[in-house]
Amino acid sequence: MIFETLLSQMPYLVHGLTVAIGLLVCLLSLGLALGLVLAILEVYGHWTLRLVCVLFERVFRGIPAIVLLLLFYYGVTDYIEMGSFTAAVLALGLRSAAYQSQIFRGAFLSVPNGQMMAARAMGMNKLQAIRDIIIPQALRMSIGPWTNEFSSELKATSLAYVIGVVELTRQAKYIISNTQGNILVVFGVVALMYFVVNRAGNWALYRLENRLSLPGFEHRGDA
């Protein structure tokens, strides 16, 4: 009985999962691009820019994800037209940028000074040196901590539920009200789906980290 319901509802859950993953990919990409820029400005930029970046980080890290979602969905849409999915990408993506910039900043700072110096000494300008020498090294070091960010943002996508994005958690709620029950089972299955995606993502990032790790710089290679 439960399994029949589950089977018939499965397409909805799968669809919800793809929406959640789509949201995750968009928000992480936004966070990655902006987080990288923030980190570069914070490490190499003028102090005024640094101040702006720090302020941005403080604000977006200080406000709960739910409040950001509501702020962007109910609030900003008063002024700029956008759907709930876009609002979720912006709210969670900007927040993720604040967290990711911390990761990247740490990585930039741990690239030894001599690397920048050697690049500048051969005639690269600052931007070239950052792009060709610093970023490739810093990104490698960021993969480990970035894995945590991936996990926490995957879970945060469920919060987009509150502004009506029809992602996995909201699909679960729909199914529960449509089928009048099966709550434990449905949420159990949904939890399992998040769990599996989380595990798969962590595994893939771990693989990536190992594949890109340089001889002499393997951190986690005890597997």
């Binding site: 030894p112 001599g114 690397q115 110096m117 050697a118 690049a119 500048r120 000494a121 051969m122 005639g123 690269m124 300008n125 070239q128 060709d132 020498i133 490739p136 090294q137 490698r140 340089l214 001889p215 002499g216 710089f217």
Partner: protein
Amino acid sequence: MLLRVENIHKSYGAAEILKGVSFDMAPGQSKVIMGPSGTGKSTLLRCINHLTPPDKGRIFVDGEELTAKNLNTMRQKVAFVFQDFNLFTHLRTVENVAIGPRKLRGFGKKAALDLAYKELERVGLSDRADAYPAELSGGQQQRASIARALAMEPKLILFDEPTSALDPELTGEVVSVMNKLASEGMTMLVVSHEIGFARKAADEIIFMEGGKIIEQGPPSQIFNAPQQDRTRAFLNVIEHGDDA
């Protein structure tokens, strides 16, 4: 003159590190700068390519003055070899050598790699081309960084104590590469206390102390008949093996 160093001054806070240093280098010349620790040798070298911009004084390379504007093109003519190598950690040896030609000199990928292999051969490292820096010995890393400098086809190479981070048994391989470059006519300005290199390859020794040049001349004169007591005392120490 290939290099003209004119009245360079540099202070860090209240401490005046360089107190007006001037000298010239003709093409093909090799000069060795010596002097006690903390005297400003590294600072001078870094002022020459503005890694540390001087407070006062001017640098000319091939008659053109080095300024904030032409900095990056001028640095391509003045290569720098560091005491601690600073090879790019994420690039294989051959890529370390190729990156300059590729990114700064407009070479295509193939041409840059060809040049890189050629320069690696010059320093005797062809067989380690695919290794990462962390997989090389100190001597190999320094030779790779010399190849990286050579691949810029610079007018002048600045060396800041290229052997002092190496175990004694590894200095020889680096010194012999440097000897070879000098004999091929490369213009080199070397901060080093390697007496062997200084005697054999240098056209002139510059002896610095307290932020100034206090004596300069051909190795035979400096080593055999130094004019200044300070020079004599210093040479005594390094020639008799006490660590300078």
